[in-house]
Amino acid sequence: MNHLLSILLVLPVLGALTTALLPRGEDRLAKGVGLFFSGLAFLVSLPLATAFEAGRAGMQFEERHAWIDRFGIGYHVGVDGLSVWLVLLATFLTPLCIWGAWRAIDHRSREFVVSMLLLETGMIGALVALDLVLFFTFWEVMLVPMALIIGIWGSEQRVKAAIKFFLYTMVGSALMLAAIVYLAVVHYQVTKGTLSFDLADLDRVVLPPDVQALCFWAFVASFAIKVPLFPVHTWLPDAHTQAPTPGSVILAGVLLKLGTYGFIRFAMPLFPGAAAEAAQLLAILAIVGIVYGALVAYAQSDVKRLVAYSSVSHMGFVVLGIVGMTTQGLTGATYQSLAHGLTTGALFLCIGVLYERRHTRALDAFGGVAKVMPIFTAVFMIAMLGSAGLPGLVGFVGEFLIMVGTFSGSAHVLNDPPLLVLVAATGVILGAVYLLHMFQRVMFGPITHPENEKLRDLSLREQLVFAPILALIVLMGVYPKPFLETIDPSAQALAAHFTHKRCASVALARSGASRAALADDFAEACTDPMAVIRAVYGDERAPQVSGFGPAPRQEGPRAP
């Protein structure tokens, strides 16, 4: 199955072509075809989970062809533990979204299905691409269908939201493209004439500090907007609120993850020196996002907006896990990405269910729904609790790993990580506050609006859409072993690689050279990377010391 990833990339495109050729007006048929192809893509992607070799860090299912050979641009795809589950999440959520939108999307279904399928290709492509130009291509490919989905099938303010989404994201990508080209040119120079955009090749380059910082921030500009990191998050509430349900689910479920995935795969390992310098700032932004997102979520009167802001809060945790650059943090960040995709996806589907029945998202319009929709209540509650990070459900595993990793092991890049975690952990309280607030306003209390008395409970189709998501929310919380087994080795390798390359970056800066070099040149200097880093930053930033000073002497006043 060496061509698995390529097949996975082609299948949705094929589906999109087929759908596009259908006659106009065949709505059900179009959705059926879309469901068929996305379902097929999901089935095809299953071997990624089953045949993936756990315990190995490197890329698997790798495939490499020449593409634009003249510029060293190749078609190079592959997955490792950090991306494989995200690919599966994308293939898992897309058919559910198309199925879930069976009734919600009632015009231009053909175009809708085409957009969804192209979006799927874009997402998978961005996750598996190992060539920077290829990655960038898919990164941009995602943008158009998503903007269309928001702009055509959204609610009242859809066009404004779509434009906002599009422009915000474009700003970042433009900077990233410049950095990619620059990096390739530098690689061309240091290797004396090899032009390549392959990640593995470019990863060998170590840039001098000032340029490294520029390139890092260029990448961060793109990824931080996608995450979204405070304060560039304001496109998200608008996009989420205006997007149709399947759009919101995909947006929250997969698209945001691409931002953090970009951090993990590109920004951090390519520019470790700059990343280490920027870690403190990014961590603070992440934490501000956690607290701020939660606070603002509480102030919302629109259910969907509330959940959108909760995304800002949750993704803050993911970023915190990444910038701490510990194995646990990276594993946790990846796991939390999956968790957020499932729980927030489920929450948006729940809100979609309510919206379909009442055509409003205002908190005030509900109340007492639990009485008339018992099955829905159970579903909503599990999704809500998963989102709140209740232990035993999916949200907790990631949050715990992120916090424990950052608290105990990230002193090599952060100042006083315990304090950072302390502030971040208030998100745990605030999460309960705004989620329970929402749940109570919608589900509990007496029925105040007569329209709510006759709401239908979930139909069989809706139950079937929810069932697999809820099953995963519980399963991944109770038994995360199969997932952690595959994520952990890659995270470990990445953390080690980061430290090693950061050492090379430090060594380069200390050598006084103003030009880029290859990381391999510093292999000898970096036999003990932590020693080099400690020599530069001082002992208190070495991870073993964990930011703790010597204990104050405790003088016992008396003996028994």
Partner: protein, 744 residues
């Protein structure tokens, strides 16, 4: 150990879990499809048998393995739960003497309360949901108790919080009840925040959250890295225990996080008995005793625990005196009794804390269930001002209630007497850095609280069961009878409340009466407290010298003295309560009310703490949230930031538009001006205009896009641009060894 298959421990948890899942999934179906009576039979039979299985397994493991087999520790590895890097959290279960006591109490009391619920909830339409939650609670509580890793304990910890939330808000159509549930959950979450941070703090030193690993590190006493490493300038042990104690105050309703517990009485009464009296709220005490070796390393935390416990005990008791809601009185009583347990734990009297936890579970469950019977009988009226004389209608309930009152007030020989006495003695004699001040404080608070306890409990009893009925005629005549399914659990609990005290027969009483019973509980828990008992220096946990102690025991005379004081206080206040409330509200009671004036008001309004929290925490929080959203997000970030950027771009566009008016002749004019400027630049500049060829001064340009390789070829080249005195040199191409000085 061979005799018992090891999966027994897991099945103790799984049995109620399966019951919960069954009722959640099929309960609704059964309630809809089957005839009502049959459906209820199915639902409660499944639920009760699930708990009965857990109870049976607990007793069999305890008896066969621990008592008969002499095995003191059973460990069961289920599967690795969370792992990454060096972190390894196993889903492991541990049965040691401490968790054995807990599972026996939890499953035993839980079973009785399940049975009682059948009667209490008999007509509720959401019967299946109720029992499903109750079973889920049992499973969570057992996970909490049996978890070997603290993170597994945390799963149970949050799980019981969730069930508490669900059950308090069980009748969610009532906004107030749903809010009470939410309040409980949020306050518990504040505690959990401390709990999880405490775990992280421990983790940084131990690199594991396994209880045994922590014990091994803590066993080194003063040399332990828990003491020698500092976090924020304080030893890790202190930081960690303080954070963990924050978790305990949330879960066990101590100051400052106690206000959710009185509100939690919105739930069905059996729930109050099970969760908010007997089991869940004691989890904090359990946690401290479980980690006694870490707490013992943090004298500061111990002192704080003791003081908070003592103050809570008294504070809540003074509120309990004036309440009129039968369940509210019991709720404040629970807060107060939990305060006792923390007082004991903070004074290093671990065994006394667990002892009181156990006896309290019996008599408080009995009291709550009794109050449930009363409420059910009075058509869901909870106001004791409209009760009275109910003993004639429900003698068994009144009897068991009276016995439990004796127990909680600490009258010899009921259970509460022994456990409370042990706590007070422990408080007086505990050796600490802050002795003897803290001893006087602890003992004083405890004794005054004991007086209040006796007073408000008997006030409650007399106002409810004695005197004449003060409610309306209809309630009195249509009084609901006592059913066996409800009174049998009461009798069993009352029996336990009577005899449980003999598990902790004090040494001194043996000396005096000649009845030398062993202190069963102390011996039983000895392995658990052994580590901290070995500590020396400032971390020594034990009895203070000064004429009280010998041989690890308090001297007989001293102990008899303490017993006499507490018994005397209890009896005096019992009799006083009888005088004031023996037949309704007496004139004397009214006189006292007037005499106390403001104090009475304060107690009646619970010292306005809820209002204070509302003003200090809730409102500012809401305001902050609104401020963040309306001002910062909408105005600053989106308005000035994003809107500003968009506005700037738009404005620039408008400016540039002026030139792009489509008039070709104007374009041509601009072109001419431009050409003129370029020519002037070139010809006004000697560097460029002098056409002298030079070695470095070679500008290559081959507009060959495909030939990037050749353009950036091996040769270096340099571009110089100059204007007047300004000059810029750009080096392109691979690094030129000779031309390294150029600007980048």
């Amino acid at each position: 150990m061979n005799a018992v298959p090891t999966q027994d421990l897991l099945w103790i948890i799984l049995a109620p879990l399966c019951g919960a899942i069954f009722n959640l999934v099929f309960g609704r179906l059964a309630m809809r499809k089957l005839p009502d009576r049959t459906a209820r039979e199915v639902v409660h039979l499944v639920a009760i048998s699930a708990v009965a299985i857990a109870c049976f397994l607990s007793f069999s493991v305890w008896w066969d393995v621990m008592v008969e087999g002499g095995v003191r520790r059973l460990v069961q590895t289920v599967y690795p739960w969370i792992f990454s890097g060096e972190t390894m959290i196993g889903f492991d279960l541990l049965l040691d003497p401490l968790s054995a006591v807990m599972i026996l109490v939890v499953t035993g009391v839980g079973l009785l309360i399940h049975i009682f619920s059948v009667g209490y909830m008999a007509h509720d339409p959401d019967y299946h949901r109720y029992f499903a939650y109750l079973n889920l609670f049992m499973a969570s509580m057992l996970i909490l108790v049996l978890g070997k890793s603290l993170l597994v304990t945390f799963v149970g910890w949050e799980g019981v919080g969730l069930c508490s939330y669900l059950l308090i808000g069980f009748w969610f159509s009532d906004e107030a009840k749903a809010s009470a549930g939410r309040k409980a959950f949020v306050m518990n979450r504040i505690g959990d925040f401390g709990f999880i941070l405490g775990l992280f703090a421990l983790y940084t030193v131990v690199h594991s959250l396994d209880v045994d690993a922590i014990a091994a590190v803590a066993a080194r006493g003063a040399q332990s890295p828990l003491v020698t490493t500092a976090l924020w300038g304080v030893p890790v042990a202190t930081v960690a225990t303080l954070l963990l104690f924050l978790g305990c105050t949330g879960k066990s309703a101590q100051i400052p996080l106690y206000t959710w517990l009185p509100d939690a009485m919105a739930g069905p009464t059996p729930v109050s008995a099970l969760i908010h009296a007997a089991t869940m709220v004691t989890a904090g005490v359990y946690l401290i005793v479980r980690l006694n070796f870490v707490f013992a390393l943090a004298p500061l935390t111990m002192a704080i625990v003791a003081v908070v416990g003592g103050v809570t005990a008294l504070f809540a008791a003074t509120i309990g005196i004036t309440q009129f809601d039968i369940k509210k009185v019991l709720a404040y009583s629970t807060v107060s009794q939990l305060g006792y347990m923390f007082l004991a734990a903070g004074m290093g009297a671990w065994v006394a804390a667990i002892f009181h936890l156990m006896t309290h579970a019996f008599f408080k469950a009995c009291l709550f269930l009794g109050s449930g019977s009363v409420i059910e009988a009075c058509h869901h009226n909870q106001d004791i001002r409209t009760m009275g004389g109910l003993r004639k209608k429900m003698p068994i309930t009144a009897g068991t209630f009276f016995i439990s009152c004796l127990a909680i007030a600490g009258i010899f020989p009921f259970a509460g007497f022994f456990s409370k006495d042990e706590i007070l003695v422990g408080a007086y004699t505990y050796a600490s850095e802050w002795s003897p001040l803290i001893n006087y404080l602890g003992w004083g608070l405890g004794t005054v609280a004991a007086a209040c306890t006796a007073f408000y409990m008997f006030r409650l009893y007399y106002l409810t069961f004695e005197g004449s009925f003060r409610g309306d005629e209809h309630t009195w005549t249509h009084h609901v009878a006592e059913y066996p399914i409800m009174w049998v659990p009461l009798v069993i609990l009352a029996f336990l409340a009577t005899v449980a005290g003999f598990l902790g027969w004090p040494h001194a009483l043996g000396e005096v009466t000649g009845l030398h019973l062993p202190h069963v509980l102390e011996r039983w828990l000895e392995p658990v407290t052994a580590t901290s008992a070995r500590f020396a220096g400032p971390y020594y946990v034990g009895l203070r010298d000064g004429g009280f102690a010998h041989d690890g025991h308090v001297t007989v005379g001293a102990e008899m003295g303490f017993m006499g004081v507490s018994l005397g206080v209890a009896v005096v206040f019992w009799l006083w309560a009888r005088r004031l409330y023996g037949d309704g509200f007496s004139k004397e009671a009214e006189a006292w009310k007037a005499r106390l004036g403001k104090l009475y008001e304060a107690s009646l309004h619970k010292y306005w703490v809820d209002e204070l929290y509302d003003a200090v925490v809730v409102r500012p929080f809401k305001f902050l949230a609104k401020l963040c959203y309306r001002f910062f997000d909408a105005l600053v970030v989106d308005g000035v930031g994003v809107g500003g950027t968009a506005g700037l771009v738009g404005w620039l566009g408008d400016v540039v538009r002026v030139f792009h008016n489509g008039n070709v002749r104007r374009y041509l004019l601009a072109l001419l001006v431009g050409v003129g400027l370029v020519l002037a630049t070139v010809y006004g500049n000697p560097t460029v205009s002098s056409l002298e060829p030079s070695a470095v001064h070679r500008v290559q340009s081959r507009p060959d896009l495909g030939g990037l390789r050749t353009t950036l070829g091996a040769e270096p080249y340099r571009i110089e641009i100059g204007f007047g005195s300004w000059k810029k040199v750009i080096d392109l191409g691979p690094a030129a060894p000779g031309a390294a000085g150029g600007e980048r």
